[in-house]
Symmetry: none
Subunit: 223 residues, 4 copies
DNA sequence: GATGAATGAGGATTCATTCAT
DNA sequence: AATGAATGAATCCTCATTCAT
């Protein structure tokens, strides 16, 4: 489903070779499958079939199923974590109440996820699994985000509404509102609901999330 | 090969027999394991080991792994869905703005989940899987809940804040805030955060969710 | 399918007890199943289901699956072997050309098989299996039959037609013509042919076999 | 899970590859075992052991146990059915009484079976099982053979001896005489008889069958 | 780089059998 | 005599991985 297929992080050449293209196709297929069926529910046969190659060929590009999964996570989660890191770091550095204007941030965030709607499911699967299969690298990246998001939020939140000890809950809530939306989309549709990933629905969600965040953080004044 | 189905596998007697106790133990073990590792990640060996029996004995109580999973889901999700159904139905019947007082509802909801913190993970896993393994029975139960929750919310929501077309997003958001909290707890703890399932944390979350709901639905006045 | 269910050979009481009746029902069910699906293809669950009892109850009547199979064979093959033995013994004793009048013998034979059309299949299955599961008892019974049948036939056969060294082939041929007919009946019917076990068909077969035997043994005179 | 079927399992190349040789060895082993012990009595372990490979390797060549059985049947029964088909078709086309000279046909038939004495047992097992595991393909092949054999025989048979309504019985009889001989051979030997598959015995049987057929069809004249 | 073949480990499930009730 | 529960052994089959070509 994902359309962009950048070169894998581990090997960067000037010209994308045929091998690079295969590797990218594998990553794309694996991302979809891991998101849809989870690590244990995805077989290398599934991946190879979707790419149109045979199983052993996968090993020319990735050392193992775990390595492939790691590569998918890294490629997928990297941009998100970078975005979050920078936002959080920025907010941390500034003295202004956080966030000065939530809309751009929310929109940047959702733009990333819109381009790769599988990532939230990947993310959620990882949190459900307790980060079991997260590389130490990725884990070290994630931990401070929550931490700093908490710090930042602590300064921005309307204390009349949420106590300082509720900041963690606030951060987690926003996280779940955002990723949960994408994760539930296929199920919701299948249940008879409309397509949450349609253009309009995603715009509505963007507005909704922005409103929500703004509403939560700002003092009691409606926009 | 067999044509008659000799042993009713779900009959309950007056006195809990040895078999009933074993079945209950299997269900408990399976609930934990399915929540932690997912359907594909859980083996019948895992379940049997945790119960302290041998694998074939599982088949004296459940017809198959899928049937066991179904039983876990039904037993676990039943109370939640009933609660939601009754709340939604009630709200639907009354003319008063919904909910008249969110706190009791939120507390009832969280009380159920507190007693079985695995259920949210089970739920979330199902939504991630697109309800693939949901029995038609359970699916028919879930669909109208979202639907009616939307109707009810449509009457209660502060229209100055959220448009009518955002009600679905609102309902999903609350759902994800609630279940996501439990789902991420083990990961959060492992990442160095505190225990989200501790007494205090759960109380904070209860307050937070109640505040959030109240805040979202009531007009712009803090309590 | 078989309707008569005499008491098992191992226990003969005056009044058929309830247990005896169960044992008979088990034997009847097992005879059908072993004939239809063979020893390996028949499970004790199949047998128990058909009788309407639970598997462990089978063990109140038969020591093991093998013992049950043995009992079925003994009960089923006994009458046939007795008949054959007596015929052969009789022919052996007499000096007259054998058989003086084949019709009665053929008819007696077919009467037994008509009453229990499963037996030929059981028999054929055993010969296919090389008598692997035949009790030594039964095997000792069978061996001399062929032997004596050969001797007898040797005297009766039209030597102008079949050489003495072909007597074995002759005996085997008759054996296969007879038992094969019953064995192939279900398949033949299913292939679109008519029912070989119908009254008329069986009568035709009786006539055919009698003609064949007569024809083979008698000098070149048609009936 | 997989959607495409990547590896054609039955393709034949010009040079027999290693895989082809393995597949042939598997077929040979399976043919013996299925003939000796039947489908249910044969385990893939048996097959693998006889070939000298491990069980999972079987799946590189055949999709399942059933598929392997089907391949054995097709490969084994194909030549027989072809022979029968051609004989029957030929007889059907000609106007001469059938068969003009039975000996060549019987000899051709027995030559095929002599080369693969397991096939008759395979055949007989199938008829005993009611063709349960016969592929529709094979079944469609078999049905018309009996049918046409009946038609052909109807023209050739000595009507003074066998009525038209006995033709089916005649055809079945010949079939059983032929295949039964091979099927019973191991048992007969084990019972103390001589080896029915020895050179001499097979020649005797060939003569016997030819005599029998000739005798049955021709008017009352010995050869 | 691609793949046919092979395989150790393991997965769900069935089966015959036992035993306490 | 009947059976619910338990289980060792085995069955078919899948999976990730390796290796020679």
């Amino acid at each position: 489903m994902s359309t962009t297929a950048p070169t894998p992080l581990t090997t960067r050449r000037e010209h994308p070779t045929k091998g690079d293209r295969t590797a990218a196709a594998i990553l794309a297929a694996a991302e979809d499958l891991f998101a849809e069926k989870g690590y244990d529910g995805t077989t290398l046969r599934d991946v190879a079939d979707r790419v149109g190659i045979r199983i052993p060929s996968l090993y020319n590009h990735f050392e193992s199923k775990e390595a492939l999964y790691g590569a998918v996570l890294e490629r997928g989660l990297g941009p998100i974590l970078e975005l979050l890191s920078s936002v959080v770091a920025e907010a941390r550095a500034s003295e202004a109440p956080w966030p000065p204007e939530p809309r751009p941030i929310v929109e940047a965030m959702l733009a990333v996820l819109d381009a790769r709607p599988q990532l939230p499911r990947l993310l959620l699967r990882e949190t459900l699994a307790g980060g079991t299969r997260l590389s130490p690298e990725l884990r070290d990246w994630i931990a401070p985000i929550f931490e700093r998001a908490g710090e930042a939020a602590a300064r921005g939140v309307d204390e009349a509404r949420f106590g300082a000890d509720q900041v963690t809950h606030l951060v987690l809530a926003i996280y779940h509102v955002v990723v949960g939306y994408y994760a539930i989309a296929p199920f919701y549709k299948q249940l008879g609901g409309h397509d949450l990933l349609s253009e309009e629905a995603r715009e509505r969600q963007a507005r909704f999330v922005a409103d929500l965040v703004e509403n939560l953080f700002s003092p009691n004044t409606s926009r």
